[in-house]
Amino acid sequence: MTTATDAIFRISHVFKASRDRVWAAWTTPDQLARWFGPKGTTGTLLDYDLRPGGSWFWRMDADGAPPMYGRFVFRVVDAPDRLQWVHGFADEAGNRIRAPFPGDPWPLEMLTNVSFADHAGGTQVTLSFEPFEASDSERDTFIANMDGMQGGWSGSFQQLEELLG
């Protein structure tokens, strides 16, 4: 029984490319959109602002399913060594929501840490994720930021309501 050990929350992989190249693949919107996301889905970056406090807003499309949205708020951006963000599902206006599908338990927000290190075979990327418990003030800041962005998103909430039905 090792489900809860930290090893379960960590993934490491060696990419056969220089650290600058791998960093660029993670932090350039059009490159990121080419590889990130669950199998069988197409990802679109709706906005991307690489700085602490900035965020990455993502739409995921799969055949025969309504689109899903995610927002990733950067906490650490330290090129080309480290990224840290808080990730959760979002509605089409970018507001944080619970996982928009029934059944699977899912934390509201997750903290993801990504580190990049030189390796004999290229670049080693170590990624860890864990449930995130935001402090009240962090959540207030996040909500305030989202309120400011809503004007820019003219999507219909009706579709979301149907989705959440």
Partner: protein, 108 residues
Amino acid sequence: MQTALDRKFAALADPTRRAIVARLALGEASVAELQRPFGISQPAISRHLKVLEAAGLIEGGRAAQSRPRRLKIEALAETSDWIDHLRTLWRDSFARLDAMLLEEEDPK
């Protein structure tokens, strides 16, 4: 509104509590046994155990302070779905990034 599942995830958001859970995954342990490797005070350990117990992740016997704490494996399994989802997501993504980086290396 905090659901039972929120309490589990919140409990697991702390690295010390994850380490306690990892230790208990190897077998039950008393408060004193749990305290030793972490080098933190007994009240601090007790607070962490209280959070884990409130989240339904661990349970203890009757014998007060010395009662051994035990992991509730079925409660933990509930949270393992999202771990599996995330691992799959990243493995699939990494495979695509591997392919993308290789493509560039050998231009057609």
